[in-house]
């Protein structure tokens, strides 16, 4: 077996051989799964993107909503309570949140209809469900992992959003809008929000590595068959080709995500033009 995998050759030679095939797109053969690495990873990528995408939405939707509420009611009791809550979320480890969610969701007090699945991506009879059934099933499986992965980053986004909104509300054009007699709702959502969102968009790139890192932990807890799970099992099994390719792919995803975030920047802020 050592011979078959070329493990008896000198290390530099192995490294050069590995590098050569790696850059040509051949990621090698997984020791622990006895399958090509490319195959293993291409099955896992979509699952991680499902989870990551859903979490990203939760992170920014919840984060922005909380930040807006806080900035509109600055220094009120609500503001202080939410500041404390976001700090709490920010300090909660993802894995503990996940474990607590499993404990909470699997307690026997819930009726069957409300019972949320705590492991895997689909129920056993998934293949026999119709399109809507499949979507609903997938959504039910997504709920808990998404919350576990997204909630603590949402706390961080809320803190940024509060700061950004408060800075925007101080601007002259907000005073102009108020002086025109616009309703507070129009001022906040029409004028302040759009401008306050601009710096928030750049956070997408910042939070991608955090989300993907968290995916390793969350996928392990919820038995979600994504890249984090592959990575965890590969490290446990010391399956080096798989570990290297997995790490590389995570980096590639982060870079692509950053590119998308930069392009989004131009969409949100028309003053920015890329040539």
């Amino acid at each position: 077996m050592r011979r078959n995998f070329g493990l008896d050759r000198p290390l530099p030679e192995q490294y050069v051989a590995w590098l050569q095939s790696f850059v040509t797109g051949d990621f090698g053969f997984s020791f622990s799964r006895f399958r090509p690495v490319g195959e293993v990873l291409s099955e896992a990528i979509p699952n991680t993107l499902w989870l990551g995408g859903a979490s990203l939405i939760v992170v920014f939707a919840v984060g922005c909503a909380v930040g807006i509420v806080q900035s509109v009611r600055q220094y009120s009791r609500t503001d202080h309570a939410l500041t404390f809550a976001t700090l709490f979320l920010y300090s909660v480890p993802t894995f503990w949140l996940g474990v607590m969610l499993v404990l909470w969701a699997s307690s026997p007090v819930w009726p069957d209809a409300l019972q949320l699945p705590v492991s895997g991506m689909q129920t056993l009879d998934y293949d026999r469900l119709g399109l809507w059934g499949r979507l609903a099933d997938r959504a039910r499986h997504l709920v808990l992992p998404t919350i576990a992965l997204g909630l603590s980053s949402a706390g961080a986004v809320a803190r940024y959003m509060r700061g950004s909104m408060l800075e925007t509300i101080d601007e002259d054009y907000i005073r102009t809008a108020r002086a025109k007699g616009l309703s507070e709702r129009r001022v906040v959502f029409g004028h302040a929000l759009r401008n306050a969102l601009i710096p928030i968009v750049s956070l997408v790139g910042l939070f991608l590595p955090i989300l993907f890192g968290g995916a390793v932990v969350v996928e392990k807890i919820f038995a979600w068959p994504g890249m984090g799970m592959v990575m965890y099992e590969a490290v446990s099994a010391r399956d080096y080709p798989l570990v290297m390719a997995g790490a590389f792919l995570f980096a590639a995803l982060v870079i692509v995500g950053n590119l998308v975030a930069d392009l989004l920047y131009a969409v949100v802020d028309p003053r920015i033009r890329y040539r």
């Binding site: 404390f84 503990w96 474990v99 404990l103 700061g163 965890y232 995570f250």
Partner: protein, 370 residues
């Protein structure tokens, strides 16, 4: 009379004027004396026993008593006008007005003493299994075991306490490595500019594009984990943000008059960097370090939870949650208490970090963190 009261009950005289501070001092004073009385046998055994941990605990206990006595008995300083205050005096004033930050600082101090005093505090040996394993395992919280017992009949409270020592030590040492490395790289890159700057900043970009946890487990896949290794690896993966921060500051500082003056005087580059430039970047580094300790403790716990952290005989919070998951439906205290310990620790460091940042920069009124 008042002086005598101060001697026995520090802070008691202030109870009406500054109730929170006086009550905190009195509570800490009382707690320490209760500890002395309850654990008298362990304390007197220390000088003969000779274990390093116990010696550290003894010294810390005396230091804690002295610190509380001094803090509680101190009179408020007379008000000085703003012009007469030093930069640090102003900062410390701003920090003291920040109530949450002060609460965080008190918590951090408490946690540090808890960690140092663990050999006296822990009710049981963290590794001791019950005599009759069937009877002593999975006991719910009780007077004997305030946080219950685990699958082997070990006391969870003692393990949480000993785990806290590991977490705080790993977090602090790793952040020292990270901050030193980050400041050095950032300062050199920002001061030298040119290709040195380009190479080091592209390296930073490269390392930042890998999720930290993925980077960590990739490294750990190739080596056998030990506590030292975890500290070094956490330090080596945590310096990038700081080096960017420092580089930015140094880029603008190097054009300032006092740096130019130092150059004209013919000082060598190392002397300019360490004596003139870096001291002016100290404040953002301190803020980054405080927030970084909390984050490092989180990451270390996640690593341990994955099973790649501090290796097992050493108790660690992440590892306790990992082992507890199997039995958590029957014994939820196994995952509950270590998790709460992590949250409280990380949160108190974040509170202090936030407070410091606000105190150092009045402009950033509680907004995002950079």
């Amino acid at each position: 009379m008042g002086r005598l009261l101060d001697l026995v009950l520090p802070g008691a005289r202030d109870l009406r004027k500054r109730p929170v501070r006086a009550a905190a001092a009195l509570a800490a004073w009382a707690a320490l004396w209760v500890l002395v009385v309850v654990r008298w046998d362990r304390i007197v055994a220390t000088p003969g026993g000779g274990a390093v941990d116990a010696w550290i605990a003894l010294v810390s206990l005396l230091a804690a008593l002295a610190a509380v006595w001094r803090l509680g008995g101190r009179r408020p300083e007379p008000d000085v006008s703003v012009e007469m205050r030093s930069q640090w005096g102003l900062v410390s004033d701003a920090f003291r007005r920040h109530r949450l930050a002060m609460a965080g600082l008190a918590l951090v101090a408490t946690l540090a003493f808890l960690a140092l005093l663990t050999p006296y505090l822990a009710p049981h040996d963290p590794a001791a299994q019950g005599a009759d394993i069937v009877a002593t395992r999975f006991q719910p919280p009780s007077w004997e075991h305030p946080m219950g017992t685990d699958r082997f009949g070990r006391d969870v409270l003692s393990r949480v306490l000993y785990g806290g020592r590991v977490s705080l030590m790993v977090g602090t040492l790793a952040i020292i490595i990270a901050m030193t490395l980050g400041s050095l790289v950032g300062a050199v890159a920002g001061y030298a500019r040119g290709w040195i700057d380009a190479v080091s900043m592209r390296t930073v970009d490269l390392l930042l594009s890998l999720p930290r946890l993925v980077l960590l487990i990739t490294i750990i896949a190739f080596v056998d984990p030990s506590t030292t290794l975890i500290i070094v690896v956490l330090g080596l993966t945590g310096w990038m943000g700081t080096s960017r921060l420092v580089r930015g500051e140094v880029l603008s500082l190097r054009e300032r008059e006092f740096v130019q003056a130092a150059r004209v005087l013919g000082f060598g580059t190392p002397r300019i960097l360490f004596k003139h430039v870096l001291p002016n970047v100290a404040t953002p580094i301190i803020v980054a370090a405080t927030l970084g300790i909390g984050n490092t403790i989180l990451v270390e716990a996640s690593l341990s939870f994955l099973g790649f952290g501090v290796p097992p005989p050493t108790p660690s919070w992440g590892d306790m949650v990992l082992r507890g998951v199997r039995d958590m439906h029957d014994a939820p205290w196994l995952v509950l208490f270590p998790g709460i310990a992590i949250v409280v620790t990380v949160m108190s460091f974040n509170l202090v970090g936030d407070g410091l940042r606000d105190a150092l920069d009045p402009r950033a009124g509680g907004g995002g963190h950079s």
